[in-house]
C-alpha cells in the first residue's frame, strides 16, 4: 500500500464522517437557516468525495461531475435561502 492509498482511505473516512455529522444537523436543527447551512456543507463534502474518487481511479471524468455538483449546490442553496427570506425565489 502506497502512502497515497493510505491517505486516500483516511480522507474518504474523514469526509464520510463529515457527511454523517451534516446529516445529523439536517435532522436536528433549531431553525431553517441551519438546515440550509448543513445541506450546503453536504454538497461541499460530496464534491470532495467525488474528487477523491477521481484521484483513486486516475480518471479525469469526475471533475465535470464535481463542477456540476458545485454549480447546482450553489444555485440551490441561494434559491432556498432566498425562498425563506422573501417567500419567493424570483420576484
Amino acid at each position: 500500500m502506497t502512502p497515497i492509498d493510505l491517505a486516500l482511505t483516511f480522507a474518504y473516512a474523514a469526509f464520510g464522517a463529515g457527511l454523517l455529522f451534516n446529516l445529523w444537523r439536517v435532522f436536528r436543527a433549531p431553525g431553517v437557516p441551519d438546515r440550509i447551512l448543513a445541506l450546503d456543507t453536504m454538497v461541499i463534502n460530496v464534491i470532495a468525495l467525488v474528487v477523491l474518487y477521481g484521484i483513486g481511479t486516475g480518471s479525469s471524468a469526475y471533475f465535470e461531475v464535481a463542477m456540476l455538483f458545485a454549480m447546482t449546490g450553489f444555485v440551490s442553496t441561494v434559491a432556498y435561502a432566498k425562498f425563506i427570506l422573501r417567500g419567493d425565489v424570483i420576484e
Binding site: T2, P3, I4, L6, A7, L8, F10, A11, A13, A14, F15, A17, G18, L19, F21, N22, W24, R25, P30, G31, V32, P33, D34, I36, L37, A38, D40, T41, I44, N45, I47, A48, V51, L52, G54, I55, G58, S60, F63, E64, A66, M67, A70, M71, F74, T77, V78, A81, K82, I84, L85
Partner: protein, 132 residues
Amino acid sequence: MNPIWEYLIAGLLVMSGIFGIVGSFGLIKLPDTMTRLHAPTKATTLGVGGVLIASMAHAWAAEGVLSWHELMITLFLFITAPITANFIAKAQIHRAKVEDQLPPTGTGRSWATFEPDDARNPGHPAERSRAE
C-alpha cells in the same frame, strides 16, 4: 512516481481530511447559528481546496499533464462560499428577530438590510418615479 511527490500528495490529502472533518464537526458542536456559520464555510472550503490541489499534483506527477479543471472548481467554490454564507446570515437575521442584539453601525442609520428601499437608495430612478 517520485516518492517525494507521493508523500506531498499524501500529506495534502491528510491535511484536507482533517480540515473537512473539523468543519463538519464545528457544524454540530458550536452553540448558535451565527457561530455555526463560521465552521463549514471556512474549514470545509480549505479542505476541498486541499483535495483539489492534491488532485492537480497527482495528475502532474502520474501523467505529466497539468490539469486546470480543479483550479476552476477551487475558484468557483472560493467565489461562491462567501455569497452563500451572506445569504444564510441574512435569512437568519430576519427570521430570528435579532435586530436589537446587532452592534451599532456608527453612522446614524440602521443596518442596510432593515432599511426600507427608499432610505437605502434615494436617488434610484424607480424610487423617484414612484414618488412623483
